[in-house]
């Protein structure tokens, strides 16, 4: 039932696209003409966008792109992925190299206004944290004065890090490396004392890269709000609508899945529950 409901919602979105065919937006047009959706994702962040051992991309950001492809073509496989680093992602979207950026990108004022981009919505609420090795015996981020901190450039992480240390009168030495694999190498080799990124990224790094995950501790302080969402270019309202309502359809579908999987019997009781839901379409 979940799949049927999801497809039904996608079909509705598709209807929106077709109905507006009179002035079709440039991005939807070019994607339909190409025959596939070009989606910008992370180079390899577990849980968000990472190729598995068969080379298939998996993750929440990848799923969103597949849903948009399903909305456009009725086939979630008509999609190509472009792995982008934090420094390349906005230029790739601005220049038209990708149709949509689904890459755990934080929604900020500067990005929404002066970069010529539009954030469509939020698919993950996160915050920035710090990870250190357990043998340092550090219990709080306020004990990190003088530390060498590994961070990726061109991210809100870099700015928040500087602001947090300034606000708490602490000093630090940044070790700024662009590629995710290299920055993790530097942290796990001991080049820096602390690794900072969004807490989801810390957890992903600890699970996928640490020789012994129990040796690393994520400190309790979450120093910023990092709401992630898909991004599109300014000036294409129709494409914005397509992506936004695909995101909403996925959220609705997930709510329904959650309510059915939590042991509520699928009978007239459930159907009544569903009928009671406020109409969003």
């Amino acid at each position: 039932m979940l799949v049927r409901t999801t497809l039904w919602m996608e079909a509705l979105v598709l209807l929106l696209v077709v109905a507006e065919g009179a002035h079709a937006g440039a991005t939807a047009d070019s994607a339909l003409k190409k025959g596939f959706l070009q989606c910008g994702v992370n180079t390899g962040l577990a849980g968000f966008s990472q190729p598995d051992s068969n080379g298939e991309w998996r993750g929440i950001d990848v799923d969103l792109c597949r849903a948009v492809a399903a909305a456009l073509f009725g086939d979630a496989r008509k999609i190509r992925f472009t792995p982008l680093t934090a420094q390349q992602r906005f230029t790739a979207l601005q220049s038209g190299e990708v149709d949509i950026l689904s890459r755990n990108t934080t929604w900020t004022l500067t990005r929404d206004t002066s970069l010529g981009l539009n954030f469509v919505g939020i698919n993950f609420y996160d915050g920035q944290g710090f990870m250190v090795t357990k043998k340092r015996n550090v219990k709080s981020a306020k004990q990190l004065d003088g530390a060498a901190v590994c961070v990726q450039p061109g991210t809100t992480t870099e700015l928040n890090l500087a602001d947090y240390f300034r606000a708490n009168n602490m000093k630090f030495k940044p070790v700024v490396i662009e590629k995710l694999e290299e920055v993790l190498n530097a942290y796990f080799a001991g080049r820096c004392d602390v690794y900072t990124t969004d807490v989801s990224g810390l957890v992903a790094a600890r699970i996928s890269r640490a020789a012994n995950p129990a040796d690393h501790v994520i400190l309790p302080e979450v120093i910023s709000k990092e709401p992630f969402g898909p991004v599109v270019r300014h000036g294409d309202d129709q494409w914005f609508d397509v992506v936004r309502w695909t995101l909403f359809a996925m959220i609705e579908a997930e709510e329904i899945a959650a309510s059915t999987s939590f042991g509520i019997v699928a009978d007239s009781c459930t159907r009544r529950r569903y009928a009671d839901r406020p109409r969003t379409f």
Partner: protein
């Protein structure tokens, strides 16, 4: 009045054939005007297209962002003191000084090393010549960025943590945070400021970071391999007769090299070496791969935070163009010195 009369007669006669297509001068003027117009049209098209797209996407433009607060920290600064509250312009200046520092040191040391290896390859000692040949062939044929990763991994993985730092001499510490050494005090001049392990890292004293060390090693060894080949080629280009005549005069090998061969070889060596110096400067932009905060790395971050890619890239282009023109200007002056001396002799 007679002069004007003659002039008008001359020009009156000539004006009948001034603009004929059969004249080569006329054709060349027309062709050149067409090419200039085409290039100008092309440039106007690209610029107006870019401006139109920037406006349509509502992307900010202009260089005003340089005076805004940068907001990010930089790992190492050369001579300047910088903190996150400074402007983007100051951050770019820090990046520029970092680039100049690593490029200048790499140029100097790679020249010394390159000349030595070039001479070693021409040596009569078989082992020395073969080792030099192996060095040149291996280093030249591996991409520079791979070599940088190699040196960086070697330094960070093989050196111990600060708490177990190697200390061959008191006050000098070697760890995976870099090479800490005492310097003449920034706080108390004339007294040595020793690095002390405090908390996470060493404070006080001077520090050569692993990023700088890896950049410096990689650039120096790579450029030295190319310079070695240029030196070898330059010396081989000197006529064999010069060597024989010099030896027959009773000069030692060192004297032959210094007074006869190298001055002539330098005329052949200096122009390609200029290219290698320019390559070395531009190769320093690979620093972004290993975390050394050079100009390109900082401009990349700035582009990402402000979204102004065109202004950022044009700053990089302008700076590298200026540095490269300065280097080649100096080398051309140096080359002229040898050319003059040679022709006078």
């Amino acid at each position: 009045m007679p002069f004007e009369f003659y002039r008008s007669v001359c020009t009156a006669g000539a004006s009948k054939v001034t603009w004929s297509w059969s004249l080569p001068r006329v054709r060349s003027i027309v062709y050149q005007a067409v090419v200039v117009a085409a290039v100008g049209l092309g440039a106007w098209y690209f610029i107006s297209n870019a401006v139109e797209n920037l406006v349509a996407r509502r992307i900010a433009s202009g260089f005003g962002f340089l005076l805004r607060e940068a907001g990010f920290e930089i790992g190492e600064t050369t001579f300047l003191s910088y903190h996150a509250g400074d402007t983007y312009l100051k951050a770019l200046a820090v990046g520029l000084f970092n680039t100049l520092r690593v490029a200048a040191l790499a140029i100097i040391f790679s020249t010394v090393l390159g000349v030595s290896i070039g001479l070693a390859r021409l040596s009569l000692n078989w082992l020395l010549a073969k080792l030099a040949a192996i060095y040149v062939e291996v280093i030249r044929n591996v991409p520079l960025v791979v070599q940088l990763f190699f040196w960086y991994a070697l330094i960070t993985e093989s050196l111990p943590a600060p708490s177990e730092a190697l200390s061959p001499v008191t006050g000098v510490f070697l760890s995976n945070r870099g090479f800490a050494f005492p310097i003449f005090g920034s706080v108390t001049p004339l007294a040595l400021d020793y690095p002390v392990l405090r908390g996470f890292n060493f404070s006080g004293g001077g520090l050569l970071s692993p990023e700088f060390a890896a950049m410096f090693l990689g650039l120096t060894l790579y450029t030295a391999a190319f310079i070695a080949e240029i030196v070898r080629g330059g010396i081989s280009a000197v006529d064999r007769g010069q060597f024989e005549a010099a030896y027959s005069l009773g000069l030692s090998h060192r004297q032959v090299m210094r007074f006869i061969v190298l001055p002539q070889a330098l005329r052949v060596i200096v122009p390609p070496t200029t290219s290698q110096y320019l390559n070395c400067t531009k190769n320093s932009s690979l620093a972004v791969a290993i975390g050394y905060p050079d100009l390109v790395s900082i401009v990349n971050t700035t582009i990402n935070q402000t979204g102004q890619a065109i202004e950022g890239i044009s700053i990089i282009m302008l700076v590298y163009l200026t540095i490269s023109l300065a280097i080649s200007g100096f080398m051309n002056w140096y080359n002229r010195r040898f050319a003059l001396r040679g022709s006078k002799a």
